[in-house]
């Protein structure tokens, strides 16, 4: 009896550990499923539309002309992303240095939760504020017809990427050993000289990783750009023109497509490209972060 009981217990614990294992690898399963579905649904598009025409096509007009040129979406995404990074880097790195190194402890305790709140504001709310407040402002300042431009998107996306950039940069600053600071001060350097010549160079690789993670957020952001960048899939090279990003195209057009059709499949195709781009950005930046943590 006792033997039987212990055997049953063994079987039970074996089953439990298998079940837990299955949950443990869920993240791998999900990532693989996502990739599989993006590929499966975009096959129809890639097999019937010439790939070169897709990559170099200058018109995205799936319903009217039946043309699926990727360039306008790519330039749209690049324009918005580049603008956002230019704004986000000084704000993010600057705030991280202030919060992580210079601010008194009490001030830091107030600032950090405020930055965390920024991360929780839904992107649709940021987009709404963009429509109501920022777009009219841009329209007046630059004296243009409509305020829904690449620049409007860049500004809002920059702020949305800040929680990521600030928190990871701050981690990098905190990881700089205190003895470095002591050594610098002992050599007669002022607090600012220590920050600027010792702490920042030591933390700089972490800051690069932080900016890259922020970049991943910006490239993948959907609702805000859909709402405030003007929804115009044309190739433009000015921040004061309306554009259409990859993400916004998917969100805007998926509702009107015939499921299983060419247009439907093309949206999965650009989704696949988006997935690969963000995956690479995240992969590289996390390698960076892990290497810093290990050393």
């Amino acid at each position: 009896m006792g033997k039987f009981k212990s055997k049953a217990r063994n079987v039970k614990s074996f089953l439990i550990s298998r079940f837990i294992f299955l949950n443990g690898i869920i993240s791998i399963i999900i990532l693989a499923l996502i990739l599989a579905f993006l590929i499966a649904n975009s096959i129809r598009f890639f097999s019937s539309y010439p790939f070169l025409e897709f990559l170099t096509g200058q018109k995205w007009s799936p319903t009217v002309l039946g043309e699926f040129g990727f360039l306008p979406l790519l330039t749209g995404s690049l324009l918005v992303t580049f603008g956002a990074i230019v704004i986000a880097v000084p704000l993010g790195i600057g705030s991280a240095i202030y919060i992580g190194e210079l601010a008194p402890k009490a001030v830091r305790e107030v600032l950090k939760p405020i930055i965390e709140i920024l991360a929780t504001i839904p992107s649709v709310v940021i987009g709404f504020i963009g429509i109501k407040l920022l777009a009219p402002l841009i329209k007046d300042i630059f004296n243009i017809g409509i305020g829904l431009t690449a620049l409007t998107g860049s500004i809002m996306l920059a702020f949305m990427s800040l929680p990521t950039i600030i928190s990871i940069s701050e981690d990098a600053i905190n990881a700089v050993p205190t003895r470095y600071r002591h050594a610098s001060i002992a050599l007669g350097a002022t607090k600012w000289e220590t920050t600027h010549k010792t702490v920042i160079p030591t933390a700089s690789s972490g800051m690069v990783a932080a900016v890259m993670l922020g970049l991943g957020r910006i490239v993948g952001e959907t609702m805000t750009v859909l709402m405030i960048t003007g929804n115009s899939p044309r190739i433009v090279f000015s921040w004061l023109q309306p554009v259409r990003t990859i993400t916004a195209t998917i969100a805007a057009e998926m509702g009107e497509t015939v499921q299983g059709g060419m247009h439907y499949s093309s949206l999965f195709a650009i989704g696949l490209i988006l997935f690969i781009i963000t995956f690479l950005i995240n992969f590289v930046s996390n390698r960076f972060i892990n290497r810093i943590r290990e050393s």
């Binding site: 993240s27 990532l31 499923l33 202030y98 504001i121 504020i129």
Partner: protein, 291 residues
């Protein structure tokens, strides 16, 4: 160098230092002003529209008047369903990583996938949910499809938070339980998980906040443009607050300003409350541990 020269160079140094301090402080204040500005402005513009009727009634006149109750309720259903799927899976995944897994290649790949999952754009989750749950499994545009999609989206949050909480449970607890003859699973269920509960709750609440505010993943999987009738099964479509705000702001632009700002404020408050609750639980359990 003369004594005066030294004085001047020192003063110059102090001046540069002051300049940079102020510059960095200024950059930080820009960020703070942005966050507080949005919240305060939303409260000022939105609070006038919020009353009991707005929160408890169905929309009228093509959603241009009346309340937003169906959207609030829809978001509530989505949150609940998302938790039902993501909580057990997320907790067990964290239990595997912290209590069962050995340090090998597979474990490293799992950790890498979790990090990469959280970097996948939300609109890609939406595409996946459409292809898998809506089309292949034939759930249609439904609460079920939407909740499963959102559950996948917030899994990394729940796994990471739970694992942190499990790590904080001292090994001596596990050793004591195992020494008393408990199996590993019994130890996990009766000793480790109860101790880690506050951390798990924090992670779930933060995850919920994220799920409640997401729009892109629900557009193709569950959200209805207008669905004044309340849902009667898990295969119904529902209205949801974030999507409703999107519709009001971009498609029904002639809606009275008050209704738009009110909807935005309700959504923001909902998300903020979750975040505050999560942070409060975390802070309390940290303080207790210190005692």
């Amino acid at each position: 160098m003369s004594k005066e020269g030294l004085e001047i160079s020192k003063r110059k140094k102090i001046l540069t230092e002051k300049f940079f301090y102020f510059f960095l402080l200024f950059l930080t204040l820009v960020v703070v002003a942005f966050v507080l500005g949005i919240i305060i402005y939303l409260i000022i513009k939105g609070s006038g529209a919020i009353n009991w009727e707005f929160l408890s009634q169905k929309p009228r006149e093509g959603m241009r008047a009346g309340g937003i109750f169906p959207a609030i309720l829809g978001t509530f259903y989505l949150i609940l369903g998302t938790l039902v799927f993501s909580l057990p899976i997320g907790i067990l995944a964290a239990v595997y990583l912290n209590e069962y897994a050995s340090k090998n290649r597979l474990t490293r790949v799992i950790r890498l996938s979790i990090v990469n999952m959280s970097g996948v754009p939300s609109v890609v989750y939406g595409l996946f949910g459409l292809g898998f749950f809506v089309m292949l499994l034939k759930f249609g545009k439904s609460i079920l499809a939407g909740c499963l999609t959102l559950a996948f989206l917030i899994l990394p949050v729940i796994i990471t938070a739970t694992e942190e909480a499990l790590k904080a449970v001292p090994d001596s607890y596990r050793h004591a339980s195992l020494a008393l003859g408990a199996t590993r699973w019994q130890t996990v269920v009766k000793v480790v998980l109860p101790r880690a509960l506050p951390g798990i709750v924090t992670g779930s609440v933060i995850g919920i906040g994220r799920a409640a505010g997401e729009t892109a993943p629900i557009i193709f999987t569950v959200a209805a443009f207008s669905q004044p009738n309340l849902p009667n099964s898990i295969f119904s479509q529902v209205m949801a607050l974030p999507y409703h705000l999107y519709v009001l702001a971009t498609q029904l632009t002639d809606t009275p300003e008050g209704v738009q700002w009110g909807t935005a404020l309700v959504l923001l408050m909902m998300v903020l409350i979750f975040s505050i609750i999560g942070t409060a639980i975390r802070t309390r359990s940290r303080l207790r541990r210190k005692e």
